[in-house]
Symmetry: C2
Subunit: 254 residues, 2 copies
DNA sequence: CGCCTAATTGAATTCCCTCAAGATTCGTGG
DNA sequence: CCACGAATCTTGAGGGAATTCAATTAGGCG
């Protein structure tokens, strides 16, 4: 499934997403940004449902998502799939395996995806010379961990309605930020079940309740948000956990 | 609560724990290790139940745990406490707030603790010059995230018995590694409830079940492991998630 | 047009929660 | 060293949210 070599690589336009991401994470030196982009050695398309990274594979590369939505997951003993994180354009797929040299979970394409490939050793020496970029990637890891943490607190203390609503809000925000259509949230109810830890049956009933309440559109297959405000309210959603803190703490009067 | 200035600071002996930790995380240069230790500017004792770091505080420092057990937590709307992570000697208390400049959760002492304080700016410039240490701290963050991830997968897919057993196994391993007594696991059933997301009542019943099964000691107040093997088996415990991968992938024949 | 995946519905069950009251232990000060 | 209050642990009963199992319907795609 190799791409034909192109003079203008197909990810040229899409690289701006990576730049945006790194800027958000605190890399503000244009030279560094460009240098980082030049680490991308190739790209690969992955169709919906296929694995981007297999469980247990030895990582000689780092993979970044350039377009589409992916998820990090693991198959449990009982045959169910547990999704730990969703990934949007600009997110790296396998920070964890990069720093731990171990691939303990797999990454799959939730929609059709385009991914970029960086060489592990290239990146390593790059980070030696650009510790600021290293810090940025570290930040990205922590942000991902924060999302997981948010899920944990939701899953133990809140009702299914709130949890599903939360999950949908998160995707709504991340879709918007990635300039993707928010017309329909491109997740199946099975995806939602695997991510929330609820059964598919109950996810279905919850979705129906959200439709009944008017938060989601009725008579439609797929998940379409009808009333964004209402959904946010049901989820008691607060998007700050998705961001690097540019709040008060960032610039204290020191 | 300032310490009297001592010629031999009381954390002198305890510093070896930090060195061990950093070695595990891949820092093998003795000079770097020593330099890192010299960043510790002071220490502080915190009594069981007190906060080490308050929610929302502006971090000008990084705090490392030198002895005792601590936990990262957040108070939920409904008044319950959700514990996200336990910390053992050598662990930093607030990586997250360090890289995000934001303190979104609090840290409390589960047992009496001694913590060391590093200056934020000192550390920042140190990391600029020692990117390898930065990578090590990044690794530590990822390891912490891995533990959380393990909890997530357990909490959705497994029974209370397995979950509590898992939690206990984790502490057993971490106590052992920190050269602390494993006679009694120094957590209350309330701590376990806050960490697992189960109700105290149900934690209690689960503990009793574990006692009945012979995994925990009977007729004892506090939690004492009677049969380590059995507990591991009940939890289907696999400790690899607690480690930096020193497996096959770490030294490929390149 | 037919297959496969996804969505939907119903019924019975189970695990865990809440509420509420007691028993036990710990820590602290007298 | 003992006593008292506070925290922790224990026990019972009843209820509810989400699960499992099983079957059916609807859509998407070749």
């Amino acid at each position: 499934m190799e791409m034909a070599p192109l003079r203008e690589p197909m990810w040229a336009g899409v690289a701006t997403i990576l730049v945006m991401k790194l800027r958000e994470l605190g890399v503000d030196d244009d030279k560094e940004l460009r240098a980082f982009l030049s680490l991308i050695k190739g790209s690969r398309t992955v169709r919906r449902g296929e694995d981007i990274l297999k469980f247990g594979s030895l990582p000689k590369t780092l993979t970044v998502l350039l377009s589409g939505i992916a998820c990090r997951y693991r198959m449990m003993d009982n045959g169910r799939r547990q999704i730990f994180a969703f990934q949007y354009p600009g997110d790296a797929c396998d920070y964890h395996s990069y720093v731990l040299s171990r691939q303990d979970d797999a990454v799959a394409a939730v929609t059709d995806c385009l991914v970029g490939i960086l060489d592990r050793d290239d990146l390593e020496s790059f980070l030696q010379e650009h510790p600021r970029v290293g810090l940025a990637l570290w930040r990205a890891t922590v942000l991902e961990a924060r999302i997981l943490l948010e899920w944990v607190s939701h899953s133990t203390q809140h009702s299914a309605l709130e949890r599903i609503a939360s999950l949908l809000c998160e995707h709504l925000v991340r879709l918007t930020r990635s300039d993707m259509s928010t017309e329909v949230i491109p997740l199946t109810q099975i995806d939602l079940a695997d991510a929330s830890g609820l059964s598919v049956v109950h996810v279905n009933r919850t979705i129906q309740e959200l439709r009944e309440l008017g938060a989601l559109a009725k008579n439609i297959h797929g998940i379409k948000v009808e009333n964004r405000e209402m959904l946010m309210q049901i989820a008691k959603f607060d998007a700050t956990y998705l961001d690097v803190g540019k709040t008060a703490a960032a610039d204290p009067p020191l």
